[in-house]
């Protein structure tokens, strides 16, 4: 049974946070802007200085090089960045099945980055991230720019990925209905701590 175990985590002015995320489960996280949700996800990906332990199964975050950790515990930020001219250049492995599941055809690989909408960037950003086959997904408002149809595709796709890889996810969002629908546990971040709202 795969488990992400967060023990006494302190970062910036937040914490201590204790949290366990089990395989195939989604943990929901909401809270006011500036409450530290994104910072929390960045900390889990070891992009921010912190104290306390973050352990995936028996693997402590600090025991492997940071880039290897980030391949396992992968962060999809609210705004994705793209540095080449076309979509295809950002992909090494391409699954047409995954593309189709998120409503794309193979043609999208030839698209130039400049013409991508923010919603397309979010969906393609997820596919790009999944090339590493991460074991934990940290999703920062991943459907904020998606319409209803694409939001549904996105949700189903993530659920299916977690099932297939027995991976887990932390989903940050503002839509309480959505978090309720998706997550096993739901938390609100406030005053530097996390409160269970189930």
């Amino acid at each position: 049974m795969r488990l992400l175990n967060i023990k006494n985590l302190k970062f910036l002015h937040c914490g201590p946070v204790n949290l366990q995320v089990k395989a195939t489960e989604i943990t929901g996280l909401s809270g006011a802007s500036g409450s530290g949700k994104s910072l929390f996800l960045r900390t889990l990906a070891d992009l921010e200085a912190h104290e306390g332990d973050i352990v995936l199964d028996d693997l402590n975050q600090q025991s492997i090089p940071a880039h290897q950790w980030r391949q396992k515990v992968a962060l999809l930020s609210a705004e994705t960045s793209w540095w080449f001219d076309t979509v295809a250049e950002h992909f090494e492995v391409l699954s047409e099945k995954n593309l189709a599941a998120l409503g794309f055809t193979k043609d999208c690989m030839q698209w130039s980055i400049a013409r991508l909408s923010s919603g397309e960037k979010q969906r393609l950003g997820l596919l790009r991230l999944l090339q590493n086959e991460p074991e934990v997904l940290l999703l920062d408002e991943p459907t904020a720019n998606l319409d209803k149809h694409n939001t549904q595709l996105f949700e189903e796709f993530v659920m299916q990925y977690l099932e297939e890889k027995s991976a887990s996810a932390i989903w940050v969002g503002h839509d309480h209905e959505q978090l309720k629908r998706l997550s096993v546990n739901s938390y609100v971040m406030a005053d530097g701590g996390m409160v269970n709202v189930d």
Binding site: D46, A49, A66, H67, R70, E79, T80, S81, W83, N132
Partner: protein, 268 residues
């Protein structure tokens, strides 16, 4: 001496004429709000004063035979060049790192190469003979500092502007080195363009000053050309080494031990 070799003396008026051109450039730049005027005037004033002063002492400098004295001069030259590199930067590393990186890279790129050249190629006796050591070091420093300043500026500016891209690449599990590789390549190119231009244009577009001076002063043209080629290669190797060491040191400094981008190590 043949007539064309006679030095035509420049009058104060001649110099004033050239100075007016620089002055006009400053006015033009100010009126177009291009913001380089102050720097331009200061540099022009400095070049006048510094060259006058060094012109006065150069003869006695070249007559000196004390190794310690020559070394002190060399250290002063390197420190000043390091300081100038730093002054050209829009973003700098905090504390002694900025000066340390630029001066350290000049040491590798200019001082060591000059030593190598003095010992193995020129073999003057003694090796620190000032009429070889000082101009050689000077030419190397003058040229490599341009390359290093450009490479450093490009690296820090681009890293600053492309912060989201660097962090995105880290999120995708790339190493710190991989995440900044493209920016480093850009910076290397920026640093090397001036010397590559000089080499490509030498003889066809530009007549390098040292060679021309030697020939005008009566040296055999082939000998002067050989010296010039030697200098060009030294400058190229020096610039390359200098830019590479700067890029290496700075990009190490931009990340912490957990491969996180550390902009708090830059001056605001």
């Amino acid at each position: 001496m043949e007539e064309w070799l006679m030095l035509i003396e420049l009058s104060a008026f001649d110099l004033a004429l050239a100075a007016i051109l620089v002055l006009l450039l400053g006015v033009l730049s100010a009126s177009m709000k291009l913001g380089i005027t102050r720097q331009l005037y200061i540099a022009a004033a400095r070049t006048t004063v510094q060259l006058l002063l060094v012109g006065l002492v150069l003869k006695s400098l070249f007559a000196s035979t004390s190794m310690a004295f020559i070394l002190i001069i060399a250290i002063i030259m390197i420190s000043v060049a390091g300081w100038e590199i730093l002054s050209r930067q829009k973003r700098k590393l905090k504390g002694w790192w900025g000066f340390g990186v630029s001066t350290g890279s000049l040491f590798v790129s200019s001082f060591l190469i000059t030593l190598l050249c003095l010992f193995t190629i020129i073999q003057a006796d003694p090796w620190y003979s000032p009429q070889y050591a000082i101009p050689l070091l000077g030419m190397l420093l003058g040229n490599t500092m341009t390359g290093i300043a450009l490479g450093m500026d490009r690296l820090l500016q681009n890293a600053w502007q492309q912060r989201p891209v660097i962090e995105q690449r880290l999120m995708l599990g790339q190493t710190a080195d991989e995440s900044i590789a493209d920016i480093k390549r850009e910076a290397m190119r920026a640093g090397m363009i001036p010397i590559i231009n000089s080499m490509a244009a030498a003889g066809l577009v530009s007549l390098p000053g040292m060679m021309t001076g030697q020939i005008l002063a009566g040296a055999a043209p082939v000998e002067a050309v050989k010296y010039q080629i030697l200098i060009m290669f030294m400058i190229t190797a020096g610039t390359g080494l200098g830019v590479i060491s700067v890029l290496w040191l700075i990009s190490k400094r931009l990340f912490d031990e957990r491969e996180r981008l550390c902009f708090k190590r830059l001056l605001k």
